[in-house]
C-alpha cells in the first residue's frame, strides 16, 4: 500500500502544489487518478513513486519512507511508466532493453535469457526481440517499457497517461496488458484523461484538481 501522510509539496517556494495531503492507495486495486490539466496528477504520481520527495510529511511505499530509501530500492516495489516511454528506453535492441539491468546485477547469462524470453512472450514482443526500440510504434514502446520494468517484479505500477497517442486497437492491446498484470496480483495507479479507459478498468477513482483531492470514490461499472 502507498500512503501519503500530511504531505506538502512545492516546486517553487510560496507556490504549493499540495498542502497537508493525506491519501491511501490500496495495493491490489486499479486506481485511476483523474482531473483537469495542471491539477497535480503527475506530481501526485511522482510523489507516490518516490521520484519527487515531499518538503514535509511522509510518503510510505510498503512502510518504506521514500525520502530515505534509494530509488533503486523503491523500483523493486513500484514500477513507473513515464508519459513519454522514450525517456525510459536505454538499450540498442528490445532483448537487451529487458535484460541489461539483470546483466548489471551479474546474473548468469542463461538465467537472464530465460527471464527475458518469458517477459518477451508475456508482452507479445518475441517477434521484435532483435529490433531497435527506436523503430517501434508508440504502443510497442510502451509495452516494452512495462515489460522492462516487470523484470524487477514490482508489486505496484504507476502509469502516467498510458493511452496518449494510441488508437483504439493499441488501447485494446494495452488493456490486455493491464488485465494480465492485475491477474498476477499487481495493483496500479493510472493517471488518465481517457474516460472510456477509466470506465473499462477503474476500481477506484481519485479526482485531483487545483492541488487538492476533490473526490475518492469506489467505481462500479
Amino acid at each position: 500500500m502507498i500512503s501519503l501522510k500530511d504531505v506538502s509539496f512545492y516546486y517553487k517556494r510560496g507556490k504549493p502544489i499540495f498542502e497537508h495531503l493525506n491519501l491511501e492507495i490500496p495495493s491490489k486495486l486499479i486506481t485511476f487518478i483523474v482531473g483537469p490539466n495542471g491539477g497535480g496528477k503527475t506530481t501526485l504520481g511522482k510523489l507516490m513513486a518516490g521520484i519527487l520527495k515531499p518538503q514535509s510529511g511522509v510518503v510510505l511505499v510498503d512502510s518504506l519512507n521514500t525520502k530515505t530509501v534509494p530509488l533503486a530500492e523503491l523500483g523493486a516495489k513500484v514500477g513507473y511508466l513515464f508519459q513519454e516511454p522514450e525517456r525510459q528506453i536505454f538499450a540498442a535492441t528490445v532483448r537487451d532493453e529487458i535484460g541489461f539491468v539483470l546483466s548489471l546485477r551479474d546474473k548468469p547469462q542463461g538465467e537472464i535469457a530465460t527471464i527475458v524470453d518469458a517477459v518477451l512472450e508475456q508482452f507479445q514482443l518475441t517477434h521484435l526481440a532483435a529490433v531497435s526500440p527506436l523503430k517501434l510504434s508508440r504502443g510497442e514502446k510502451q509495452r516494452l517499457a512495462i515489460a522492462a520494468i516487470m523484470v524487477n517484479q514490482p508489486q505496484f505500477f504507476i502509469l502516467d497517461e498510458p493511452t496518449t497517442g494510441l488508437d483504439r486497437e493499441r488501447i485494446d492491446i494495452l488493456s490486455g496488458v493491464i488485465e494480465d498484470l492485475q491477474q498476477r496480483g499487481i495493483g496500479m495507479a493510472i493517471i488518465s484523461h481517457d474516460q472510456s479507459f477509466v470506465r473499462r478498468h477503474a476500481q477506484q477513482v481519485i479526482t485531483v484538481a487545483g492541488g487538492e483531492i476533490v473526490d475518492v470514490a469506489a467505481y462500479h461499472p
Binding site: 533503486a72 523500483g75 522514450e86 536505454f90 548489471l104 524487477n152
Partner: protein, 248 residues
C-alpha cells in the same frame, strides 16, 4: 530612477555580463575579485535573478572548488606548505591563493550568466539581430537557450527511470558505472535527434529563410536607464581594470 533593473534591454545586460566576465579574467588580486563577485551578485539581485538558486548552484561545486585548490597546490610547487601528506604538498599558501583566484573567477562567470537568464530569449535574439549578428546564428543561440531546460528535465527523468529499474549508481563499481552511463546516452541522443528533425520540419513549414532580408514586428529601443547603466558599467570596468593593472 528605480533600483529595480528587471526591464533593462537585453543588450545592456549583455554589456554588463561582458564587463564582469572580462574583469574576472583580468583581475589577479583576491580582494579585487571579491569586489567583482560582490558587484555581480548585486547586479543579479537588481536584474531579478534569484540569489537563493544561485547559492544552491554554488554549493554543488564545492567539491570541485576544493579539488581546484588542492591541484593548484600540488602542481604550483612553491610557497609555504600548509598541509603535507607523506611527500605530497596538499596545500601551500601560493596554491591556496591561486586556487581561490580560479574559484572566484568561476563564481563570477556563473553569477554573470544568471543575469542573462533574466532576459527573455526572444528579446536576446532580437538584440543580437539589431547588433547585426546574422539571424541564423542568433536563432541557433536562442534554440540552445530554449532547449537546455528541456534537455535537463529529460536527463533527470532518464536517470530517475534507470534508478527505478533497480540500478543504484552509488553502489556500482566504477567500470560498470561507466558502462551504465553509456545507457543513459541512448534516450538523450534519440530525443535530441527527434527534436532536431521535428524543429527543422516546423521551420521549413513556416518558410524559414524564404527571403534574404527579415523584418521584425518588435524592435528593441534603449531607454534612458539603459544608457545610464551602460555608461556606469563602462566607467566601473575601466576603473577596476586600472586597479587590476596597478595591483598586479
Amino acid at each position: 530612477m528605480t533600483w529595480q533593473l528587471t526591464t533593462l534591454d537585453p543588450r545592456t545586460k549583455l554589456i554588463i555580463v561582458l564587463c564582469l566576465s572580462s574583469l574576472a579574467v583580468f583581475c589577479q588580486n583576491i580582494y579585487l575579485l571579491l569586489l567583482v563577485l560582490l558587484l555581480t551578485l548585486i547586479v543579479v539581485k537588481l536584474t531579478g535573478g534569484e540569489l537563493g538558486q544561485l547559492f544552491s548552484k554554488f554549493k554543488k561545486f564545492i567539491k570541485v572548488f576544493l579539488a581546484v585548490i588542492v591541484i593548484q597546490s600540488i602542481f604550483t610547487n612553491e610557497g609555504q606548505v600548509l598541509l603535507q601528506v607523506m611527500q605530497i604538498k596538499l596545500l601551500t599558501d601560493v596554491g591556496l591563493l591561486r586556487g581561490l583566484q580560479t574559484v572566484l573567477r568561476f563564481l563570477i562567470v556563473i553569477a554573470a550568466a544568471v543575469v542573462m537568464t533574466t532576459a527573455n530569449s526572444r528579446d536576446i535574439i532580437q538584440g543580437l539581430i539589431q547588433w547585426k549578428v546574422p539571424y541564423e546564428l542568433a536563432f541557433m543561440v536562442t534554440i540552445a537557450i530554449r532547449f537546455l531546460p528541456l534537455l535537463q528535465e529529460e536527463a533527470t527523468d532518464t536517470l530517475t527511470a534507470l534508478q527505478l529499474r533497480g540500478v543504484n549508481l552509488k553502489k556500482i563499481p566504477i567500470l560498470k558505472r561507466l558502462r551504465t552511463y553509456s545507457y543513459l546516452l541512448m534516450p538523450l541522443l534519440t530525443s535530441v535527434l527527434i527534436k532536431a528533425r521535428d524543429l527543422s520540419v516546423a521551420m521549413e513549414m513556416r518558410a524559414f529563410r524564404a527571403y534574404p532580408q527579415r523584418t521584425s514586428l518588435r524592435e528593441l529601443h534603449f531607454a534612458r536607464i539603459d544608457y545610464f547603466v551602460i555608461v556606469l558599467s563602462m566607467l566601473l570596468f575601466q576603473l577596476l581594470l586600472w586597479a587590476a593593472l596597478v595591483l598586479s
